[in-house]
Structure formats: structure tokens, C-alpha cells
Symmetry: C2
Subunit: 179 residues, 2 copies
DNA sequence: GGCTCCATGTAAGTTGTTACATGATTCA
DNA sequence: TGAATCATGTAACAACTTACATGGAGCC
């Protein structure tokens, strides 16, 4: 199961609450692993009863109480074991390619609209990643071990956005001349 | 739901049996939409009772009987309606990026092994796509409307493999010098 | 005699999505 | 005064995975 590993990896960096994790899954880690808060809270309870993580309840004044989870030694051992396993490259499921497959039967102008919007989204994403790069990885020589990994994750994110951006542009060109 | 559309799109090309569809989902369409035969047979029954497709039973000598499904007018209308909807870019869920995120805590030599294997897989995939390209799309000028769509789907597949291939190579280089 | 291809299914379990719910605090 | 943030959950459903099952045909 992927989500459990994603959570363990996050917690290996620092102890977090379910709420914090949910936020993380909407930005940094979320760039390559998506999860909702419902999934996260459920999984936290599972990992907790399995002994991979431990939660400390922390009452707060003026705020609902929260539970901060951290890795146990068992959890740490689990990550190490998991990291040795082979991971199949992810399968792509992209609706827009499905539409292209049947181009003859489909509303052409809508497709152009969608491709244009996607091109913009990829450009925005790319700009965001570049901003993160310049802020956090300005000096790649001085990155620590975990820094390199995060740099590489960001790097493939950028390459992916750039590739899709270019493809959208070329697809639009081709659709235009093949009118 | 995605699978139903994937099936409808396949059937818009030609009538097929569940078995044929399952094969298609392991090669051509399978490059951007994966499904097992169990899912497919279930979905075919659903689509059939919903009236989007119709199956003709065809008894065979020396072979088990088969059911050939084809689109109904309702089904065709459904595709057209669906094709106008916006499709969010696919979310990536890649285990290997998860591992990178936590590089400090992880078995480095195993990671190198995995990246090397992945690089090979991407190279193989790319070669396969290039072969398909030269066989089926040798002359892109003369493609019909549906041909362009399929060409573009193949094109993004090739770009994707090439991008990942290069990323693997660069990641291996970086991990090597950052030893 | 075993392997792959044809052709279709059931059943159980896991994962992911969507809708709904609560309730206080802080900021504009 | 209303929206966003903090913090956590239940419930129903949809989608996907994995294991198991059947049985003949043709090939090496």
C-alpha cells in the first residue's frame, strides 16, 4: 500500500498531526502523491495500531486538541525494508489521450479549448516549481543527502511539466494545420 | 468513471469482444489506460444494461461462444457529451519519488539498482513506441482525423519515456558524484 | 505432457472518492 | 458578519487488485 509509505516518509522528516499531513499532501508531497484528509486519518489509526507510529495527544487552549504522530523504531525499520523493494513505474491514466484516440467522433473546438487550458496549467505548475527550486535549491552543491532526493523529485516534476507544455503546444499546432 | 469511456472509445473504432478489449488494454490503449479483464467484463455488463452498448452472442465451432459488443446511438451520444467535459491532468503516484524524498534514511545501492532498471525499461518502451511510429505513422501528412489523435497519443508516450530515461540517467550521475 | 491462446466469469479484499458533520478562532 | 483556518471524524459508494475457476484447441 502506497499511502502508508508516503505517510511514514513524511514523518521521517518530522513529527506531524493528521492536519499537517493533509496540508503536506496538498503541496510538496502532493506533487507526486495525492491523498485526502479522510484517507490520512484512517491510515494514521492503522499505522498507530500496527505500531509503526506513535501519537502524543496535545491539548491546546483555544484550539481543538491535536495528536502529533512520530515514527517508532518499527516504523523506521519498515521504511528501510520497503525502500529495497522494486517499484513499478506508475501507470498513466489520462482522459485527454482517450479523447484523442477517438478524434474523429469528437468535438474539435472543445478539445482545442482543453489543450489550451492544460498548456496554461502546465506553465503555471512549471513556474511554481522553478520558484521552489530557486528558493530551496539555489545551491545544489551544498545539498545534504535528503536534499538531493528532494531536488531530484522536483527536477522530474519540472521536466514533466515542461514536456507536457511542449506537447500541448505542438498538439495545438498540428490540430490547427490539420483542420 | 474512466473505464467506461475507455471502452466506449475502443468500441467506436470497431465492435469487439471482452477478450479483444482486454488485449487492447494490454497494448495500444493500455499505454495510457490500464484495465484487467475482470474489470472489463463487469463494465461491459453495466454499459450493456445502461443501453450504451449492445452485445451479439456469436456461437463458434470448436471455440467457446463469444459476445461481440458494439456502440448504440445512445453510447455514441454519451461519448460526444463526455468529450466536452474538462479532464484534470492525471495525478502522479510514483513510489520511487517517495523513496527519493527520504534519501537520507534509505538503502542507496538499492536505489541505484532500481533507477538503472527503470532507465532500461524506459529505453525499451521508447524503442517499442518508435517501432510503432515507423510502422503506423510513417507518413503523418496523410493521416486522417482519428490518425492524428492516435499519433499525438503515441507522441506524448514517446516524450514521456524519453524524459524519464534522461532523468534516470541524470539522477544516477548525481547520486554517483554525491557519494 | 505441458504451455499458450481463446473466452468468460465469481468473490473477497483494499483503496480511493464524495458527501456530510462539528465547533471554536482569527481576520477582513 | 461571513469566510478561512484549525482539527478531526463517519458513512456510503465507486474503483481497483488479487486470487480462484473452467475447459477445449493447437503447438512443440
Amino acid at each position: 500500500m502506497g499511502l502508508s509509505h508516503a505517510i511514514l516518509v513524511c514523518l521521517s522528516e518530522e513529527p506531524l498531526t493528521g492536519y499537517d499531513l493533509a496540508k503536506k499532501f496538498e503541496s510538496s508531497v502532493g506533487f507526486f502523491w495525492h491523498a485526502t484528509h479522510q484517507q490520512i486519518y484512517l491510515e494514521l489509526r492503522r499505522l498507530s495500531t500496527a505500531g509503526a507510529i506513535a501519537g502524543r495527544a496535545q491539548p491546546q487552549s483555544r484550539r481543538p486538541a491535536k495528536t502529533i504522530y512520530e515514527l517508532t523504531d518499527t516504523g523506521r525499520a519498515q521504511i528501510r525494508a520497503w525502500s529495497r523493494n522494486w517499484a513499478d513505474p506508475p501507470a498513466i491514466k489520462d482522459d485527454i489521450l482517450l479523447r484523442l484516440y477517438d478524434l474523429a467522433d469528437i468535438d474539435r473546438s472543445k478539445l482545442v479549448e482543453h489543450l489550451t487550458r492544460r498548456r496554461e496549467m502546465h506553465a503555471e505548475r512549471l513556474a511554481l516549481y522553478e520558484k521552489i527550486l530557486s528558493r530551496k535549491f539555489a545551491d545544489p552543491e551544498r545539498l545534504g543527502a535528503s536534499g538531493i532526493g528532494r531536488y531530484l523529485a522536483l527536477d522530474i516534476g519540472m521536466r514533466s511539466e515542461r514536456m507536457r507544455l511542449e506537447w500541448c503546444a505542438d498538439a495545438l499546432k498540428l490540430l490547427d494545420i490539420a483542420e
